[in-house]
């Protein structure tokens, strides 16, 4: 039926005078389970099926979506998209034009071993509750929480240039958190990452690889111990960031500023703009010579939340060099905006949250290439630093210059050894100064493709999953402790 719905949409749009049309039929199934202090918190399954139709008419964009998937419903939706495009043309400055792209007929799905929707829910709950029990065995834990989520996206893209692309994506994620209240302080530790755990385009095998139960006690003990730890000092320091924190640093201070729609002002009212104005392309020294960052949506980069075969306007997945030996070398673009940076083709980063949302320029997997350092050698090579792990708080200005991050936990590094625990670690800086201060990146064996499942952008707001490959890295002369300054 998906193909038929797509055809009805394209035929109607064409008949109504659209010069271009595409449609996304998406059938999305989700399962969410959470536990808290020995009980099931949330347990929910959701399914949603519908079609989003995007057209150009009178040289302007229109988009409409519906879940009424009768012939009449789809045709009315396509007609509405054309009529909206005609209304848009009341305030157009020039006609929309798209960079050329070939038509593709293809089918793709990400590899996974175990379909999480076929794993009995009882087993999934039991796993979270077992980790919960382990965390609550540790004296001082006030809240033990676990969460697991799965999403299956079955989608068909069709376009008036003749593309017909069927993709199936399976997304899994899980995590645990121990929270402690003591005196006048709340602390927490999460595993394997904070804010929902680790997520990837994989099956249930990903969840099994975490060993949530085996890591629960340590996670809880660290949360309790934080109350007795040293307060993060205020000043300038060398810092070593753990992989997941560096992943979020990449997301905020590289991934967002390279979105070409932001650069060109399309997000000015909400998500903001970017300091990376177009004259900086291939001229700005973004980072130190050892910093190499790519935007890679291809499966060979890994099964991340930004992995696909085609983006949501039918452009094949690509690997884009973003920072090359420290030099700023690329933006994320789409078919409409590619010409603004003199590119002949979109680099394939249009993505949509669901059938009822318009695709927009989005991060794929924005990853730092691994360096040469073994982790132990990096610590041994560091005389005086703070090691910071697992994000607790993040904030950056609307042009992506000035940022501040806090992590759940830190440790002193003194004389090449990991020392006392540090609580409330935080650091801040200016994006380009920070990346230029990077002097060591750990090797492939310490590199993980982290998943950020909750990136918000656009109006109406869309939440998207993005991937960030990173390994622990060292930065010099970074301002620390400002978040807690008096």
């Amino acid at each position: 039926m998906m193909q038929e719905w797509g055809n009805w949409a394209l035929d109607t749009a064409r008949r109504r005078g659209a010069s271009y049309a595409d449609a996304r039929v998406m059938d999305i199934r989700q399962r969410e389970i959470s536990t808290k202090n020995g009980e099931v918190g949330n347990i929910l399954e959701t399914e949603t099926l519908g079609i989003g139709i995007r057209v150009i008419a009178n040289g302007a964009w229109g988009f409409a979506s519906t879940d009424r998937l009768t012939r009449e419903g789809v045709q009315a939706c396509a007609a509405e998209a054309v009529s909206i495009a005609r209304a848009s043309s009341l305030a157009k400055r020039e006609n929309v034009s798209l960079a050329p792209e070939a038509a593709y007929v293809d089918t793709w799905q990400n590899p996974f071993l175990k379909d999480p929707f076929k794993i009995p829910v009882e087993r999934q709950i039991d796993l979270l509750l077992a980790a919960d029990t382990e965390m609550r065995r540790v004296k001082g834990v006030t809240i033990a929480e676990g969460m697991m989520s799965f999403k299956r996206i079955d989608q068909l893209f069709v376009s008036s240039i003749g593309s017909r692309i069927h993709q199936l994506k399976m997304h899994s994620g899980a995590g645990i958190v121990a929270t402690t209240f003591a005196g006048s302080e709340i602390q927490k530790r999460s595993y394997p990452n904070s804010f929902g755990g680790q997520h990837a385009l994989q099956g249930y095998e990903l969840i099994e690889s975490f060993d949530l139960v085996g890591n629960a006690q340590r996670t809880a003990e660290e949360a309790v111990e934080l109350h007795h730890a040293l307060q993060c000092p205020e000043g300038t320091a060398t810092i070593i960031l753990g992989g997941s924190q560096l992943g979020l640093q990449i997301h905020e201070s590289v991934g967002h500023p390279i979105e070409l729609d932001r650069v060109l002002g399309q997000e000015a009212n909400f998500a903001g703009m970017s300091f990376l104005t177009t004259e900086k392309l291939r001229k700005l020294k973004y980072g130190s010579d050892i910093v190499n960052i790519v935007a890679d949506a291809r499966l060979e980069h890994g099964s991340g939340l930004g992995t696909f075969a085609y983006d949501d306007e039918g452009v094949p997945a690509q690997c884009i060099p973003i920072i090359t030996n420290g030099l700023f070398t690329g933006y994320l673009s789409n078919r409409e905006l590619a010409s603004a940076i003199d590119e002949k083709r979109s680099n394939g980063t249009m993505r949509t949250e669901s059938w009822n949302r318009l695709p927009m320029v989005r991060m794929t997997n924005i990853s730092i290439n691994p360096g040469q350092w073994k982790y132990d050698d990096l610590i041994a090579d560091t005389d005086d630093a703070i090691l910071m792990e697992t994000n607790r708080s993040w904030s950056i200005d609307d042009r992506r210059y000035q940022f501040q991050f806090s992590t759940e936990i830190g440790w002193e590094i003194k004389g090449g050894k990991k020392g006392r625990m540090i609580k409330n670690p935080s650091y801040s800086g200016i994006t380009t100064e920070f990346w230029n201060s990077c002097d060591a990146i750990c090797s492939r064996e310490h590199w993980t493709l982290w998943g950020t499942p909750n990136c918000g952008k656009g109006q109406p707001m869309q939440t998207m999953g993005t991937g960030h490959g990173a390994s622990p890295s060292r930065f010099r002369n970074v301002r620390v402790g400002v978040a807690f300054s008096k």
Binding site: T48, G272, P460
Partner: protein
């Protein structure tokens, strides 16, 4: 919105009786709920149906670049089986899909442990009426929105400025029914206009949201944003430090917005609220009084909570003293209190929260706050606010789109944007002046009724490059 002669508020507020969102009438939605309830053989069943039609016109660089409409339906069933509960949701209305949604919820419930906090579903309730549906908003067209946007883009062009923003209108109906005979319905409309006006090195912003699209004046909002952009040209850099801060209502909204979940009884029970061990003790200044009040004329929420319990008006803070929390039925039972009608849809682990907050205002205008300030910072809006320390309620964020130095009682020009790290508790103990409370819109928090505030010793910790 095209200028239309404004009618009296009484006439503009039209009944929703004859306006059906999308393809379903009230009777058809009720019929859908009945079908679902009949399909279920669980001990108890609750059905939630949400229907919405939303449209949004987005503009940037003085042109429309995105214009969208969506029609969505959500059919959700929660079943209770032998002390267990689970939920499943679909947007498909055929019999097979409805049967599947019940079967999925039942299967999830059967496979979980018993929930000791689970209460029987509520029987039929009596609700105090609210009217949050305005026909004119529901009937706004893409052409209406495009004409208003074309006008503000032309205005920006004339000022040699660049405009970006949105004009959104929408309407919807939510229906909640259960096998014990409860039935609740909330019809609502919403409209929102937000505009950023850019100059080469400055910007200004304004936003308004309302159930009634006629209460939104895009031209006035554009003029205000334009004025802010023009008066903050070539911003100077000020040293970070403690300043008197004058927060316009949108800035107040986003600053205090992080506080709402702290008034959840579950958050206090879990010891993750900043009110833990602090109820009944002086925490804020004498001039801070706060309610949750869905019946306030500027609020737009439904008159019942996620379980269908009638919402109560709750005094949260009285002259600086936290007095009451809000409760779901489960947290009320656990904490030996009465439910207040603030529970989230079940099942969930978060409990409840106040979502129709109303801060008591004062009678000082922003102009009077400026005139009374020797040296301070005037803030239009905040951005990217996140928790730093949850018990002292230290939050961080940036100023954005119109930050000004105030000197000797006057606005002395634009300044580069600041990062702040500031305890909300400390700030609300340092409020020197309050403006009248209005329904404010921001980007970090849901809309609330809040005043402008003049706050001493606000901690701006770092400065950015623009």
């Amino acid at each position: 919105m095209t200028p239309v002669k404004k009618k009296s508020p009484a006439k503009r507020r039209a009944s929703s009786k004859h306006h059906d969102p999308g393809r379903f009438s009230v009777a058809e939605m009720e019929n859908l709920a009945e079908r679902l309830l009949k399909l279920s053989d669980a001990d108890e069943t609750e059905v939630e149906i949400d229907l919405s039609v939303d449209a949004l016109t987005r503009f940037a660089n003085n042109t429309i670049h995105q214009n969208v409409a969506e029609h969505t339906l959500s059919i959700s069933a929660r079943v209770v089986l032998d002390g267990r509960t689970a939920r499943a949701t679909t947007n498909k209305t055929d019999d097979d899909s409805l049967r599947r949604v019940i079967a999925t919820a039942s299967s999830l419930a059967r496979n979980e442990p018993k929930n000791p906090d689970l209460l029987p579903l509520l029987p039929r309730q009596k609700y105090k009426k609210v009217d949050h549906f305005v026909r004119a908003t529901a009937e706004a067209t893409p052409e209406d929105r495009a004409r208003a946007v074309a006008r503000v883009c032309k205005f920006a062009d004339k000022q040699k400025q660049t405009a970006a923003g949105i004009f959104a209108t929408g309407y919807g109906r939510a229906l909640l029914a259960n096998s014990k005979g409860l039935f609740a319905r909330h019809d609502h409309t919403e409209s929102e206009f937000s505009i950023t006006i850019l100059e080469p090195n400055s910007s200004g912003w304004a936003k308004r949201g309302s159930a009634n699209v006629f209460e939104i004046d895009p031209d006035a909002l554009a003029a205000s944003a334009s004025h802010k952009a023009a008066t903050s040209r070539s911003p100077r850099e000020l040293k970070p430090g403690h300043y008197t801060a004058i927060l316009e209502p949108s800035a107040t909204l986003d600053f205090v917005g992080s506080l709402f979940y702290d008034f959840s009884a579950t958050a206090v029970h879990d010891k993750r609220s900043c009110l833990n061990d602090r109820m009944g003790r002086k925490l804020f200044g004498d001039n801070i009084t706060l309610w949750d009040d869905v019946y306030h004329p500027l609020q737009v929420g439904p008159e019942y909570d996620g379980e269908g319990f009638p919402r109560q008006r709750v005094l949260l803070v009285e002259r600086g003293v936290p007095r009451n929390l809000v409760y779901s039925r489960a947290s009320a039972k656990k904490m030996k209190a009465k439910p207040t009608g603030h529970g989230f849809t079940l099942p969930n682990e978060h409990g409840e929260a106040p979502t129709d907050l109303v801060f008591a205002g004062g009678d000082s205008s922003v102009a009077e706050m400026i005139a009374s300030t020797e040296r301070g910072v005037l803030v239009t809006r905040f951005w990217y606010i996140r928790d730093v320390e949850p018990y002292e309620k230290v939050i961080t964020g940036m100023t954005r789109d119109g930050t000004f130095l105030v000197e000797n009682g006057k606005v002395a020009g634009g300044i580069r944007n600041f990062r702040f790290n500031q305890s909300i508790i400390a700030a609300l103990s340092n409020v020197e002046m309050l403006g009248p409370s209005i329904r404010a819109s921001g980007e970090e928090s849901f809309d609330m009724v809040v005043p402008a505030m003049k706050i001493r010793d606000f901690h701006f910790t770092e400065v950015t490059k623009f």
